[in-house]
Amino acid sequence: MSGTFVGMPSFPRAAKEAVHNKTLRGNLRHATHTIRDKRAKAVAELADWAELREAGKQIKDHTLRHLDRYLLQLEDRVAAAGGTVHWAADADEANRIVTDLVRATGETEVVKVKSMATQEIGLNEALEAEGIAAYETDLAELIVQLGDDRPSHILVPAIHRNRGEIRDIFRTKMGDWGRAAPKGLSDTPADLAEAARLHLREKFLRAKVGISGANFMVAETGTLVVFESEGNGRMCLTLPETLISVVGIEKVVPTWRDLEVFLQTLPRSSTAERMNPYTSTWTGTADGDGPRTFHLVLLDNGRTDTLADEVGRQALRCIRCSACLNVCPVYERAGGHAYGSVYPGPIGAILSPQLRGIQSEIDASLPYASSLCGACYEVCPVAIDIPEVLVHLRERVADQGGKGHRLEKAAMKAAGWVLDHPGVLGAGERVASKTRKLHPSKLPGAGAWTRSRELPEMPAEPFRDWWKKNRGESGTTPNTEGKKP
């Protein structure tokens, strides 16, 4: 499967292709605009949205500040409830732990609930390498898996596909993985959902091992929580004998009561519903109900590095609702694949470079994949100031230097010097104005601008000259070098 992001080109190059793909642009536009309006309505139903948002932010900040304490409490409660807790410093270690656990069961296939953490660590590929087949059971994940594709959205990984494309994937690929698509399958969403139901049912019914992530983990009770819609989550969480949950360490919240905030903000931000169809909570194992064996793998994989950054750590508040993707004008046009990570969109642009570091070309380009319009911050249910973190990460990229940034820094320094000398600035402006007739319509080096846009016409004189001539001599005293008026 091509579900890897290694060696991705930088964002602008990857986005260029997407921007010119008419089908993709249409699919993304339709989907994001649909959900945008619905979310706004769902949020408007709650008069105390601002307070819920603030409480969500504070719960997460408080947890992160005392993360060691809450992780230990969680570990203790999960163990007391019959679960086993594992700690994984990175993707390799997490994959090794899970692979060993599956192998110990003697099984060669597992069913999976959609989980960002397992995508982040490339668990399916790691299992495959060990001869274990991992079946994705979320409808969109199934579409991605059957289509040998990559996810392009946090909530709806197949958002880049329209119904016709999905029907074609089901028709040609389902048979390779199990029960084939029904004959004469139409492209109505209801028929496509029915095809997925039939295809996956046999897998659910025989599954012995389930793998999940979790949206939240409650420290005081050891409870894990999974929000979902289709019932595939319930199937994976309750039918197998063994359940393995891989969860990022930042997913812990202190108290059971804290869920009252996120049970209100997550569904409305995510699927724009008052409540998603199914939410499952479980604490260790339960007698005679559900898996007899439960393993929790706590994943770091760059999270502690992110936590150490005083501006960037707020990204760890993220509850993966994807509201920021749905309102982002850049995401809408570039699509999810351009972000070169399982975390696309605005949150991906601040999360990936922090989890993975800024050394690669794609990660160094992600902080610039935004016009800083602020729509993401506005809708974030835990108030992550994404533009603030983007600018902060740009500083880190610029400091690192490297391709393009050394020249840029020199230019910034030169411009800074001119801008610190108003006399020189005025002279420069005058030269630009005087020579305006001579400017070629396409300035060399300005290609990135002029390929698609005209340059403005230079005025006859800068404002400061007009001022000198028309107002400078009269009543007011120009405050030339910052003296008090």
Binding site: Q58, R69, E75, A79, V156, N162, L263, P277, T281, G290
Partner: protein, 235 residues
Amino acid sequence: MSTSPAAGPGPGPDSASGAAPGSASGSGSGSRERILAKVRAAVADAPDAPEVTRGYLDTHTPDAGMVDLLAENLADYRAVVHRTDSAGLTELLMRLLAEHGSRTVLVPPGLPPSWLAAADPTRIHDREASTAAELDEVDSVVTGCAVAIAETGTIVLDGSPDQGRRRISLIPDHHICVVRAPEQVVASVPRALPRLDPTRPLTWISGPSATSDIELDRVEGVHGPRTLEVVLVED
């Protein structure tokens, strides 16, 4: 590394030690200690993050309109809502099962026997030994619930004797859930949590299973029961 469930009680929330609970397996990679050490170093100089200010509302709904709102919100997400009283419940359940054409119905161990006294389908009991494939042959399931939430149109099952194991309300394609109103109904999510026991496995259900995975259009009916009927019993 792993900490086994057999290990003794570990440090509580206020422990600063970070020693493995009961020094469990101990043969691990040391990642646990490394991660905890990195966490502590990362936030050592961070500003204090005080306890949470809960400025949000406890409810958005007056108690008087609660049951009507529950019915409205359940229906909005395509659950079929019926309202009756205790006297009418037995007959209503008989009728709903007959209308669905059910020949078999799953019955949790503690379901009040009177509920299905008039129903025709063969009762299948909720047993640990049943296989998922066997349950897949059953047409319907009837359960009670732990609590219902008006503002979100949600019913919550907690595995009590009148609800049974989680899988019985999942595998059959038709789920009838009986809610005693207003006793089991709360207005809001903040009012539901204190009534639920987190040590029990909980299933929060808001309408039949659905997906928005195709063009972000909502379609009802995927893996969970495609028909959810909720009976509000008011006396």
